[in-house]
Symmetry: C2
Subunit: 343 residues, 2 copies
């Protein structure tokens, strides 16, 4: 089985943006309201996009979450963020209900700068227990590029880690859009957030306090594999847990779009903690003239790495994802029972 | 000749820190005051540190600037920043005067958040024309991790670029310490600044407006070589100058401490725009158990790359540095005349 561990509903029908526009118009008196999108519109948005590409690229299942950049946790009050997050997650639930064999839900969290992550617990629980989602996206900087909240090692975040641990749910570190002109959302902010989150965790005691916590660093870990020697040195100088041990507490995805970068990722992180992901349709929606493939058609990059064994590939495409997301296994088993030919 | 293009005076005698402490005590009524450090103290601080290591590692010359993290542009008023920068640069000038064959000066700039980079012109000119420095360090985020100033592509920075161009001086993008608890100074802030500066320039028209401007991205370019496919895709999607062309407008140094990372850097950037540098003594002052060498003893990483030709090595160790810093050539010629045995 081939699982793509990182996809967003970037092709959501216009009704979602209309809802968001009304949030701006009514930001003084926020009400949750309703998203007007038909099932046919959902089907159409996916059949032309993600479902078609999953078929073409031989990918069986995708972990699917709301469009990350659109979450904009910096916009409006905590109440606005909550309404927007709820309707975005409800739309993902509809996708997963319409395509139970293709998409498994991952929720956004109703984060807001300066608001305790404890406030995200209720929505996380709803998505996991009522909708059957397997985890959430976690934005370490809800301010959108001004970095006003405490680092991930601070106890500020602990109520959320407790909830994740209690639910057996997984969090993927993933920024939303930046509102700081210093940054480009997909070109610098996303990658800075990945690398910064890694460093925040490296110098923290989060995994001592939550040994079963499962966290994913997206976009190939930002700079981590390339700058590994710097991190190794910092661990030694500060007498932290050795880098080689620490790195196996986290999961990384393959959303770098180049074979050599993937090889470095796999060498530094190891084949047990890397999960296949393409993040399509995401930040790199064009054809690479070097390969004549879409940049996010990145499974061939992995396929071309000659030193990976069949067992390694099974880990990267399937087993590591199931290990990173413990709630995924039973979902895939039920899927298998539905889709397998009866004997 | 072997040139190390990136070193800071991290071993400065205690007199410099005493000066800085007095700045805190008197921050309401700042006066420039005086740094009390003898020539013998300077010699001692270097003979035990950088000079000994340059000798041991076979490095002839180092570009030398004030300790980057110590500049703390976020601390105090613009006047405090100016005084601190001036005494720090004057100390580098004394180093270069005591060791004219080993160190070539690079200055810090008296930056301050919200203050026009135009205000740095005078000190840059003093260091270049009076002290014989070849360039400066440029901090894209004087706020120290809150990113409150405009991006490097904004005309906000143009007066400084004009001054650099007029002087034939070079700027190395390099952060100072962060005062934001979200970041670790050498573990995340430095690298975020490198990558962010690259992206700011990539989406700007800086090199159209200043075709002769020479900028260096330090620390191996942050994440740039590893995430090159993402940047390539962004260039294509936005119809910017192709990544492969843009990257040759910048210079990168080798302050990554691992052979594979250096190979990726050289493959992505090309052998014409990478300069040898160790940044010793800097962020990674310990022994790498993998190699039994100090992490910053990184010349052997380059030496071990088998596909580099002798001509490539000459570029990386010498010629690219002279091209990146046009004011360096004449200094090295005078040095050669002094140090060559007379025939």
């Amino acid at each position: 089985m081939i699982i793509d561990s990182h996809g967003h509903y970037t092709t959501a029908p216009p009704g979602l943006r209309i809802f968001r526009t009304l949030q701006i118009s009514n930001m003084g008196r926020p009400v949750k309201g309703k998203v007007n999108i038909s099932d046919d519109e959902i089907r159409s948005s996916l059949e032309k996009g993600q479902v078609r590409l999953l078929d073409e690229r031989g990918i069986d299942v995708m972990l699917f979450s709301p469009m990350a950049s659109a979450m904009g946790h910096h916009f409006g009050s905590a109440r606005i963020s909550r309404h927007w997050t709820e309707v975005s997650n409800e739309l993902i639930h509809r996708v997963c209900t319409l395509y139970p064999d293709r998409f498994v839900g991952v929720c956004a969290l109703p984060q807001s700068p300066g608001v305790s992550p404890r406030e995200c617990g209720e929505e996380l629980e709803r998505c996991v227990t009522e909708f059957g989602f397997v985890g959430c996206n976690l934005n370490p900087d809800p301010s959108g590029g001004y970095w006003t909240d405490p680092p991930l090692g601070d106890e500020w975040w602990y109520p959320l880690y407790e909830k994740l641990a209690a639910l057996g749910a997984t969090a993927m570190v993933h920024a939303s859009a930046t509102c700081n002109p210093a940054f480009h959302t997909t070109g610098s902010h996303y990658l800075n957030v990945d690398s910064t989150a890694f460093m925040q965790l490296l110098e923290s005691r989060v995994f001592k306090d939550f040994p079963t916590l499962r966290l994913v660093i997206s976009h190939g870990g930002g700079n981590v594999p390339y700058q590994a020697a710097r991190y190794r040195a910092l661990c030694l100088m500060n007498k932290w847990e050795p880098f080689e041990e620490f790195i196996t507490r986290l999961y990384f995805d393959t959303t770098v779009y180049d074979q050599e970068a993937m090889e470095l990722l796999l060498k530094v992180v190891g084949v047990d903690n890397v999960m296949f992901a393409s993040e399509m349709l995401g930040g790199v929606t064009t054809v690479d003239p070097k390969t004549s493939r879409w940049f996010d058609d990145n499974k061939p990059c992995l396929d071309a790495i000659s030193w990976l064994t069949e067992a390694d590939r099974k880990k990267i495409f399937e087993e590591n994802v199931v290990r990173a997301y413990p709630r995924l296994g039973p979902i895939l088993e039920r899927r298998l029972q539905r889709t397998s030919p009866r004997i």
